[in-house]
Amino acid sequence: MNGTDVQFAICGSAGDGTIAAGDILKRTMALMGYKVIAFDIYPAEIRGFGKCISRVRVTTEQAYSLKHQSDVLMSLNDAHAIPHVGEVRDFGAVIYDNAPIARLPEGGHVSAHIRPMQLPYGVSFRSISDRATGNARGRNIVALGYLAGLYGMPAEAFHQTIANKFATKPQAVTDANVRAFEAGYEAAIGTFKLDDVVMGSPLHRADGARAVMMTGNGAVVRGLMDAGIDCYFGYPITPATTIMERLAVEMPRRGGRMLQTEDEISAIAATIGAGYAGARSATATSGPGLALMAEMLGLGVMAEVPSVVIVSQRGGPSTGMPTKTEQSDLNMAVFGGAGDARRIVLAPTNVEGCYRCAGLAFELAEKFQTPVIVLLDLYLSNRYETVIPPKENPFEPKQATGPQGPVFRRFELTESGVSPRAVPGQAGGVHTITGLEHNELGRPSDQPDNHVAMSAKRYRKLEPATRYPGLTTIKRFGAAGKVDIGILGWGSTFGEILEAMFEAENEGISCSAMKVVMLSPLPVDELEAFFADCRVVLVPELNHEGQLATLVSGTLGRPVVRLPRATGAPMRVDEILAEVRRLAAETAAAAE
């Protein structure tokens, strides 16, 4: 990548202000006009001294994921940072506190682990903070100031972010933090910089549009709000809770209604109830909640009621690893529940996609009268990216409803499979919907012909969804035409796939990548074309079985190479790259 591409990793224990320092750093970088991708990892426990890492990648050109190597590691706690020294690239920097409070055992200092090609900077954050503010609490901000000074970043931008961050606190808090920052900054000025990390200036867009920084969940909230959400029902569960928390703030200001229900069954039940009554309604949950919702989703399919379900996956099965990421609920999202119950499932691959999918989910749910699941995972829900907000609201307002004809056939067997819909309150539209199989009028029926016709209708009506305007349901990247290696991916992992694909291309490997955003119904024609173009198709994903691999190879009847990884952490670019290299060597050997 030309231009600036620097990844910072700040590592400490809970209570060191690690995440706070990372937050100020990424916000300042975004404010300056850089592109930012950032992801924090923190322990599951609320209290204690678990490890926190904040990784911030700052670029001038579009990046797609974090890098597997960082350029700079800043340690606020050596015991936690030592295992991460290895992720710093050669000629990168390791910055640490050379006078930590506790006496560390032999080998307990991060400095003892720095490799010869990595460049160390020992700074006494603690005493600098003491001198500047009268206590050591500002140690993380001193460290941040040092980092800013070392790489020549403008201090004023940081001052502004610091002031924003502490806006609700007394002025003295902001002042003390600015003093700590300045002291760290000054300490860096006299330092002889040894590493080769360079921060070029940010590129500004020709149209002057300013990027904002958002998480995947934040983008979901914006998408739901811009699409005019009327009702939200939810039950707290990591990593989806922040969606409900933000909607609780925003919806009442705009006439929407947010209700915290007694469980996920009632959340989806009320979402579907509100959908039946004509509202744009949504709920959000994670895997365990989706499991509870399965029966209701079936009702939504059978009774043809619009609803939107946001699912942010985490480590499973069962309670699993609530604060770790995983992509293991694809099967449940696509197939979960009783009977032949096809629904629409969307899996955005980046923060911008979260915004689009969440908003368009309402349109799809209404147009196709069905539940729509938007599948994220913890890594996508919580990672920050800079995005350019759309100039105009891209979403369509609610579709008109109303009975048609002298006899209102709510489930009329039309060519498209979509039937006219009326909502309670509309005259002439009185009807009853049910989870029982029913005839065109909605009356229970278990006649064989009727069941066959109604099942076919419920499948048929979803087919055009794969070509829905304004929605990227599937997309190919990199070389067009015949290639040796195709990499197929979905969800949060696709950023790493793209990074690996571009690196492989640079190495001369013939490859290209395809993302599947619509997992149900699958855009089969595009997938067929991709498979026809690739000698082998590799499917990297964050689960144990290879769920997308099974879905696609089962649907197309074609072989795939699986790369399933379920460690709880995001996929590593170098792991995908190694597999691509191996496959490339294999195909080359086979061709000889």
């Binding site: 009702c231 925003e250 007694e262 469980d263 579907i272 539209g429 009807h431 009853t432």
Partner: protein, 293 residues
């Protein structure tokens, strides 16, 4: 001539029924219940109540679960949602949240309400969702052909309690009072006119109203909750009864051997919609909190 001896012609009788208007609320589907089932009184009572309240059919939504009682929406000519076993209340809550103007009536059996759906009742009651919940309690699972329910009496022999039920039955009225339902009443399928009045009153109440309806399952219960037994057991609430006295209501609810018919308890407090409006008002007054991403 003696009134009773006057011949009644079907056509004339039908004309009379049509003219009355309450049949407008009935759908063209005939109920599929067993002849003699207590549920017929609900179809009649409900339509009479809507007539009395003058609600138009399209502004009424009946939400039900699964069971014989829950088949109800198919037999009335209002909007209806026949949902899942036990999920009546949360679906009804969603309908009401979407549109305050609708009259929402939730209907279910004792199993639907107190076994599989028991977890939802306290929350609908405490939030005071402005809906009416009609539970038809026959002390048995009718639709699945006669298994023990949470309100089956001790000693009742069913297909799943072949050696007699030994589980203490629930007391729904005490539960609903404890959950702070803002209107709690009891009616009996064998007294259809009283039932119709009670349904009308329950619907007219602003807030969560719970009407418990004792209803015989003539097919699967020949021994306990029969018309014959209930006719002997039911009674009126004592004269001078104060329906705003929660402790008195609890006392009456405890007398399970002689169930009282009438309004046990009534109070006026903010509904869920009121709370939502108040929240919107408070939100409008406070500054935009940070963290919009």
């Amino acid at each position: 001539m003696n009134e009773l001896l006057k011949p009644v012609y079907l056509e004339e009788k039908l004309e009379e029924i049509r003219a009355d208007g309450h049949q407008d609320y009935r759908s063209r589907s005939l109920p599929t219940w067993c002849p003699g089932c207590g549920y017929f009184s609900m179809a009649e009572g409900f339509t009479l109540a809507l007539k009395k309240l003058g609600r138009s059919a399209e502004e009424v939504v009946v939400v039900s679960g699964i069971g014989c009682a829950s088949r109800f929406p198919f037999f009335v000519n209002t909007y209806g949602f026949h949902t899942l076993h036990g999920r009546t209340l949360p679906v009804a809550t969603g309908v009401k949240q979407a549109n305050d103007a609708l009259t929402v009536v939730a209907v279910g059996g004792d199993g639907d309400a107190f076994a599989i759906g028991g977890g939802h009742i306290p929350h609908a009651a405490r939030r005071n969702v402005d809906i009416t919940y009609l539970v038809f309690d026959n002390g048995i699972y009718g639709l699945t052909k006669g298994q023990t329910s949470p309100t089956s009496v001790l000693g009742f022999r069913t297909s799943t309690s072949p050696y007699e039920n030994g589980d203490e039955p629930l007391n729904p009225l005490m539960m609903l009072l404890a959950y702070r339902a803002s209107w709690v009443g009891q009616a009996y399928a064998g007294h259809p006119h009283h039932l119709a009045d009670m349904i009308a009153e329950a619907i007219a109440h602003r807030g969560f109203s719970y009407l418990h309806i004792l209803s015989p399952c003539v097919t699967f219960d020949k021994t306990t909750r029969t018309y014959r037994n209930l006719n002997m057991q039911v009674r009126d609430l004592p004269s001078g009864y104060d329906r705003t006295d929660l402790a008195a209501a609890m006392g009456e609810a405890m007398k399970v051997d002689h169930p009282a018919l009438g309004v046990f308890y009534e109070e006026s407090r903010p509904t869920l919609a009121d709370v939502m409006d108040e929240t919107a008002r408070k939100a409008g007054l406070s500054p935009v909190p940070a963290g919009g991403e």
